[in-house]
């Protein structure tokens, strides 16, 4: 647990970057600091490992006042990841990752072996180990940065815009890998971003800061979207928050209907005859939905992948209302495809059915709130 106790940072030039901050980042969870540029996110983060000393107030790491231990000792127990990774250009990838263990006196062979394991864990080909940072792409460097911060297995990780220097596709990939990793490792993480979508995706809780370095709101992502504390937070959280908050709403048991399906490779004419509203769903050998077949443009011979409409998204059983609604809205047939955990077809659901579920849920919440 990391605890800020009325922490203030005033820079020598008089700038108050952080002002009376009280905040708890619970153990094993991801706490995201968001806010507009210059609101003191980086300053707050760096006060935790004392790369910046607070002007007043205290920061606790579990039972320890961080101001009372030596900075070297403090920092070796705290992983730190920054934008552009900050890898050592003169060391190979594996030696970059092994830096802290080597500093702590682990022998070279063990440290390197551990570093290799970590590279695999963060999704890097071990073949990169002998390269130098300049020979890696930005996304790969960022993975190495994460591996390096994890190397000494610190209980705490500080991350300052770790994913902002890569393109959206790689970023989404890194997000997934990061969440998967955190599920295994359960670190206490404080992550800084100015991207509210990233905050919502990654955070267990989100702290919104405003310029001047004060806390505007501390909430779970769902709460933040549903109940912004004031205009500033509402503005910062942005548009579509009603729709986005559905991402946190459990879809529960949706009224799915059975769908008539055809197999890939079966005869086109026979398949078209089964269509409902002009569309029939094609599945693969393992029962996985592949795409919709347009029966109004009948062909001849066996159905191939090239005949299928690929625009529809697929929602997983037990997922969010947002995913279910999106599946229904994106299906050319108007029937959203739901699959089980093992990716086999569960059935379909229409948008109006999902919306009905959303309204039921909202009504239940209103009754709950009135009590």
């Amino acid at each position: 647990m990391i605890k800020f106790e009325s922490v203030t940072k005033r820079y020598p030039d008089g700038t108050v970057a952080v002002n009376g901050l009280d905040l708890v980042a619970p153990s094993g969870q991801i706490t995201v600091l968001v806010g507009p540029s210059g609101c003191g996110k980086t300053t707050s983060l760096r006060m935790i490992n004392r790369m910046i000393e607070p002007t007043s107030g205290r920061i606790w790491l579990d039972e320890t006042d961080t101001g009372t231990v030596s900075t070297s000792k403090l920092r070796r127990g705290i992983g730190y990841v920054i934008q552009h990774a900050g890898l050592f250009p003169h060391r190979t990838i594996v030696d970059n990752v092994a830096t802290v263990p080597l500093m702590l006196g682990v022998d070279k062979k063990t440290a390197r072996a551990q570093a290799m394991d970590l590279l695999v864990r963060v999704g890097l080909d071990p073949a990169f180990a002998k390269r130098y940072p300049a020979q890696l792409s930005g996304g790969q460097q960022q993975r190495v940065g994460v591996a390096r911060a994890l190397a000494a297995d610190p209980p705490v990780m500080l991350m300052d815009e770790p994913f902002s220097a890569v393109d959206p596709v790689v970023r989404a990939q890194l997000h997934e890998e990061f969440l998967r990793l955190q599920q295994d490792l359960g670190k206490t993480i404080v992550l800084v971003t100015h991207d509210i979508d990233e905050a919502v995706k990654l955070g267990d809780q989100i702290a919104v800061l405003r310029v001047g370095g004060t806390l505007a709101q501390l909430a779970t992502p769902a709460d933040l979207l549903a109940r912004p504390a004031d205009d500033f937070v509402a503005g910062f959280v942005g548009r579509d928050r009603g729709y986005r908050s559905l991402g946190f709403a459990d879809a529960g048991d949706l009224p799915t209907r059975k769908e008539v399906t055809v197999r890939l490779g079966s005869d086109f004419a026979a398949a078209a005859a089964l269509a409902e509203d002009g569309w029939v769903l094609a599945i693969g050998d393992a029962g996985e939905p592949l795409g919709w077949l347009d029966a109004s443009h009948p062909g001849t011979g066996p159905i191939g992948p090239q005949h299928l409409h690929r625009g529809g998204t697929v929602a997983t059983e037990g997922g969010s209302l947002r995913a279910a609604l999106d599946a229904a809205l994106s299906a050319p047939s108007g029937r959203g495809v739901l699959v089980r955990e093992d990716n086999t077809l569960l059935g379909t659901v229409t948008a109006s059915e999902v919306v009905a579920r959303i309204e039921e849920r909202a009504a239940a919440e209103r009754i709950e709130a009135a009590r």
């Binding site: 900075t71 070297s72 900050g86 003169h90 500093m103 390269r131 300049a134």
Partner: protein, 232 residues
């Protein structure tokens, strides 16, 4: 070092005949070469050691950069001849003492290297420094294990200039009588004997070239990561 063998009193018959000149004097000439070598290299080594902390200070304390770099730059504008002549009387050494050569050249090396070291250290990426500090490196460890290794190419380039310049300036020290390859120039000039001048010239150029190459190779060996960067 023995004094030069008795030379010709008048212009020799074959002033360009190097072979003739070298006959029996190979040992003597090699002695001068050796003398020239260490008179060029020692000041670079001492100068580098002294310039390191000064260059570091210029980088660490931003306000000292301009004064330190300016002062060291000014040192470089003092003519070497003047230093060679003045130094012995200032520090009270004997007129033929090699220290009279080592000290001025050390001053030149410092003058050159303070800026080079400060700039080399400043070239290290800020995110790299932050990462190093965040990992628990103390300032000194960080300097030793991160900043200096990354600054090696820049420092190496400065050393090349310093060494080559020194090889040239050592020759000037012939005016104060400290024996080295420059001795061959004054000797040849006085007697209109060109062979020793040619020998001195070839050897000092070869020496400068060899020392330069040595630094290039050392930098290359110490920075395998740069090849990787270049191949990008």
């Amino acid at each position: 070092m023995s004094s030069p063998p008795v030379g010709y009193l008048a212009a020799p018959d074959q002033p360009w005949n190097v072979q003739h000149y070298l006959d029996g004097k190979v040992g003597y000439v090699l002695g001068l070469l050796w003398q020239h070598l260490w008179l060029s290299v020692l000041p670079v080594v001492i100068g580098l050691i002294i310039a390191l902390p000064i260059g570091y200070a210029a980088k660490r304390f931003k306000w000292t950069y301009t004064p330190l770099v300016t002062i060291s730059g000014l040192l470089y504008t003092i003519p070497s001849l003047a230093l060679f002549v003045v130094i012995p009387s200032v520090i009270g050494t004997q007129i033929l003492d090699p220290i009279n050569v080592v000290i001025p050249l050390t001053i030149y090396t410092i003058a050159l290297m303070v800026r080079v070291i400060a700039d080399g250290l400043r070239s290290v990426d800020e995110t790299v420094l932050q990462a190093a500090s965040a990992m628990g490196y103390s300032r000194f460890q960080r300097l030793l294990k991160v900043e200096l290794p990354i600054a090696i190419p820049v420092i190496g380039a400065g050393l090349r200039v310093a060494v080559v310049a020194n090889v040239g300036m050592v020759a000037v020290a012939a005016v104060i009588g400290v024996p080295q390859l420059g001795t061959l120039f004054s000797y040849g000039k006085d007697l209109f004997y060109y062979a020793p001048i040619v020998v001195g010239l070839v050897l000092s150029v070869a020496l400068a070239f060899a020392l330069d190459l040595l630094i290039v190779l050392a930098v290359r060996a110490l920075t395998p990561w740069r090849k990787a960067v270049a191949a990008r």
